[in-house]
Symmetry: C2
Subunit: 232 residues, 2 copies
DNA sequence: GCAATAGTGTCTCTAAGACAGTATCAC
DNA sequence: GTGATACTGTCTTAGAGACACTATTGC
């Protein structure tokens, strides 16, 4: 009955990104059950009866990382509904959400005790992830790259206090480029509501100590950080 | 059983936009059945067994407008999954798609014979649409506004051949602004792969005839058309 | 010729990028 | 002092916007 309306199973999958030692990393879990047993996959879970999908994603985020989803923003990446994308059932449709996290002390083993680990995005090889998660991860990273241009999410990669150099390393890690330090500094401090100086300083290993900043109130970044003319 | 995984019903809804007499319009259908009988709603339909959601949306687009979805692009707007958003069943989740169409001869009555009509977006009043379609429409229009900045979708509002003035009216209608004619002309003709002159001319009512263009091959617009510093 | 629309030239200003130069620390 | 990192100044260039000006039609 291909023409009949039908019911499907819905899941929310998470692309949780962070920067670890200057490298863009994604949180992946090892699957314990078939199919794709032992393979890496994006964390995610099934929609429950009283939830919206955003709530499912927020709950999973808390279970996997211990982060409070109320404190960071989830960005909807997209819906993946191709028939047969999940071999378990005929129709499992997923909605992917992007979450940006500061460098966490440890890949928190999820409440469901799955082995979770951070893996550099660049090291995720073709065919390594379960289901269609490789494509979903790609779309999520693309969204993150775009968001860095027009929003202030970059501060979500940092802790509550950060230096301009740390913020620059976020852009460099996510975009895979090297930015001019002086120009970046000026641009970021001039942008309206992007960063606010706390007055504090952090000593560097050897060199002038850097001023500390916290995230400003703005969500939109004006003027945007243009990723100038290459790649696209 | 709020903790149990469950099945839901999936629909695809369409935000079909066009420009009619310089005004941004959306295709709406009048509901024939309860709930919201007689109210206006976005066209849409249920996912069928062998389809991806994009295919559901493309099929609905053809049924409602006669347009071949193969010739124009559908843009995913987002997923709407709040419990109770559809009073008919506990869980109906929809994915909204944006389609941009040239000015069609007539609001084609859909195959399912629903009364379909174009309504100026600005005239859609609060509480006028069924379900949560008002919010979905808003998100779709927002996406269209953003896409005009960075992609070449504006040409999809026009027919196969168009003048620069027509293209400018697209931007003016969607953004609700007035643009400088000379600067727009230069910018658009300079942009890489945005418009290609066909060599033809179209006589104007009184004045110099305008050159005709067709859409160039590019999908991304470089440099982007920045909607400068207001609104946001 | 006039009116109207299409299209070009040119000026100003803002912002990006390159990069020289200054400031503040450890040693 | 040296060496390292943080930050500022300044020059060049590209693009946005304002707007004067030219071009081509109908009448």
């Amino acid at each position: 009955m291909s023409r009949a309306r039908q019911t499907v199973t819905l899941t929310a999958d998470l692309i949780i990104l962070t920067i670890r030692e200057g490298v863009l990393c994604v949180l992946l879990v090892e699957r314990e059950n078939e199919p794709f047993r032992g393979r890496l996959a994006l964390p995610g879970g099934f929609l429950r009866g009283d939830e919206a999908l955003e709530e499912t994603a927020a709950r999973e985020l808390g279970e996997e990382t211990g982060l409070d989803a109320g404190e960071l923003t989830l960005h909807q990446v997209g819906v993946y509904s191709a028939p047969g994308r999940d071999p378990r059932r005929p129709r499992v449709v997923t909605c992917a959400y992007l979450a940006v996290a500061p460098d966490l002390p440890i890949p928190v083993a999820g409440t469901d005790a799955r082995a979770a680990r951070w893996l550099p995005v660049a090291e995720v090889g073709a065919g390594q992830l379960a289901f269609d998660h490789e494509r979903i991860l790609g779309d999520g990273v693309d969204l993150a790259r775009t968001l860095l241009q027009f929003s202030t999410v970059a501060t979500a990669f940092c802790g509550p206090e950060f230096t301009i150099a740390e913020l620059r390393e976020v852009y460099e890690a996510v975009w895979g480029v090297v930015l001019d330090k002086p120009n970046f500094h000026r641009k970021v401090t001039d942008a309206d509501g992007f960063v606010v100086p706390t007055g504090g300083k952090r000593p560097s290993v050897n060199g002038r100590p850097s001023a500390l900043y916290r995230a400003g109130g703005a969500a939109e970044l004006a003027p945007p950080m243009m990723r100038s003319r290459f790649g696209a």
